[in-house]
Symmetry: C2
Subunit: 314 residues, 2 copies
């Protein structure tokens, strides 16, 4: 099942069910994605029963599938990303065996084709291609095994980052505020079964194709997460209940063979340059630059649709 | 003007206006605090015009004045708190001149008399007495000077903390997730003018009386913040718009003469013991322990009412 949210002038938009080919939609008897998640055991059956999609979908009408959430907790579950970021930010890499996780702003997720505004190019504007999951109510103390059943939807995320601010904020130990403005989301939130065999061990085992200004920049696969999403959910729920609609991110999708397949963020490429050539030479994004992100399976099918965003001056 | 939220079975509760003596309330033609904040220029006048309070207030019916918020950003603006926490957590103190700030869970604020559940005493259960402000919509890039006018309400907060988890999470650079479960809020959110001359330079210049199991533990004053609330708001809004209802915290209220006036959290006392005696001897909270927090002015008036919470096993 694939779900999306149409802009309708409200903050939460209008939930719609998407046809298998991604080109049409049906209007279910539910207003919002949040409402669906709060009563999932009941609403899932309602939504899954839809098999006619009478309306043609215009992608520019789409908001993020969840336009705002009560909580966004982003992991950093790919080891090769952590290695490169430590090099590029000049910070010591965490030796913790526990999942790495920060809480980011969740009162807005940009729609898949929204322009993204930043105050200044000098802040080091960067994209981060990620996968994420959306849970229903997860009680405090839920085990990783049980957490798997609370993963109701899978999403694709662009975690916008301002690198000039990231290192200094990280050194405070308090995590990121200014370095992490709102994220973008791909058009469709999907149930894990939509991924078929590519949903394995709590991982989205798809290549995430990332194009910067129309040029392929990376095609890392989501499989080599050091912790699966179910483990990230359990980590988040150790000392708090998670409310329905909490979004948990994978961190930047990254593979150890980054020299061959590229990266899902610019900072990683700069880390590789620093290691290989002694200095980072790839500049961050300029106003007017675009990024496109689309996860694809072995048949070229893109279950989440594509994020296509342009950076603009605030 | 003093506002509160009554429990009514909904997630956001029912907004009420509180009488000057704190004992009665009126029901305004507005459902929730969030709704009031989203249209503040209009709703403030409506609420301020109320001068009859027909209903008797039973404090046990009170939720947090804002029972959930889209964003909770907590500073650490008291230098003496930072000094002691570095000692007790074994982390290097930040040398940043910018405000310190992390994003915490905001999908729930405990009501002023709610029991607070934790999984394990061994996690180092601690209270943190703080002040906070609630803003209306703050556009990205708002200056500290302009931010002052966006501070619509002032609140008193208990930022529950799990100290055994705080140091390790801080060392990752990602900030706190497990170490920071939901906070509690005192009964009344007040407009800054309610503080009269004790609202100075974006600071709440009141003593925060903190009692642990009925014994006075601290009475630090809110004046010596290194950055005022308007500066914390501007810091938060540097690269993001703040939505109405965003809550910004001061961090633990702490004064340099902590040996005389005590502390607003147990970890600080442990820091003092570590410095003075070579080892921390005061244990953290046990299940069944209580904490009471009440800011008072020079006449003994408590504009926020009192937080009275008990720690229980989850």
């Amino acid at each position: 099942m694939r779900l999306a949210t149409l802009r309708d002038g409200t903050k939460d938009g209008k939930l719609v069910a998407i046809s298998p080919d991604g080109k049409r939609y049906a209007v279910p008897p539910l207003q919002t994605m949040q409402e669906a998640l709060e009563r999932w055991s009941e609403t899932m059956a309602q939504l899954a029963a839809i098999d006619e999609f009478p309306e043609a979908l215009d992608q520019v009408e789409l908001a993020a599938p969840l336009p705002r959430a009560w909580q966004w907790l982003d992991g950093s579950a790919f080891q090769s990303h952590g290695d490169l970021m430590s090099a590029v930010l000049g910070v010591e890499e965490s030796t913790s065996q526990a999942p790495l996780m920060y809480q980011g702003t969740s009162d807005k997720f940009y729609g898949p084709r929204d322009d993204v505004k930043f105050p200044d190019e000098a802040l080091g504007i960067d994209f981060e291609g990620e996968f994420g999951v959306i849970v229903d109510a997860v009680p405090m103390g839920t085990s990783a095994e049980d957490a798997m059943g609370h993963i109701r939807l899978v999403v694709q995320i662009n975690d916008w980052s301002l690198r000039a601010l990231a290192g200094p904020e990280m050194k405070t130990g308090f995590g990121w505020i200014q370095a992490k403005p709102p994220c973008g989301m791909a058009p469709f939130a999907i149930t894990p079964d939509e991924l078929g065999g590519n949903w394995r061990n709590g991982r989205v085992c798809l290549n995430l194709n990332v194009d910067w200004n129309g040029q392929r920049f990376g095609a890392a696969n989501g499989e080599p997460m050091g912790h699966g999403f179910h483990e990230l959910v359990a980590h988040a729920a150790r000392t708090r209940d998670l409310v329905p609609g909490t979004v948990i991110g994978s961190g930047t999708v990254s593979n150890a063979n980054f020299r061959e397949i590229g990266s899902s963020c610019i900072a990683e490429r700069r880390g590789i340059e620093l290691i290989d050539e002694g200095a980072a030479r790839t500049a961050f994004m300029k106003f007017g630059d675009t990024v496109r992100m689309q996860a694809v399976d072995e048949h070229g099918h893109a279950p989440f649709g594509a994020i296509e965003q342009k950076v603009v001056k605030a």
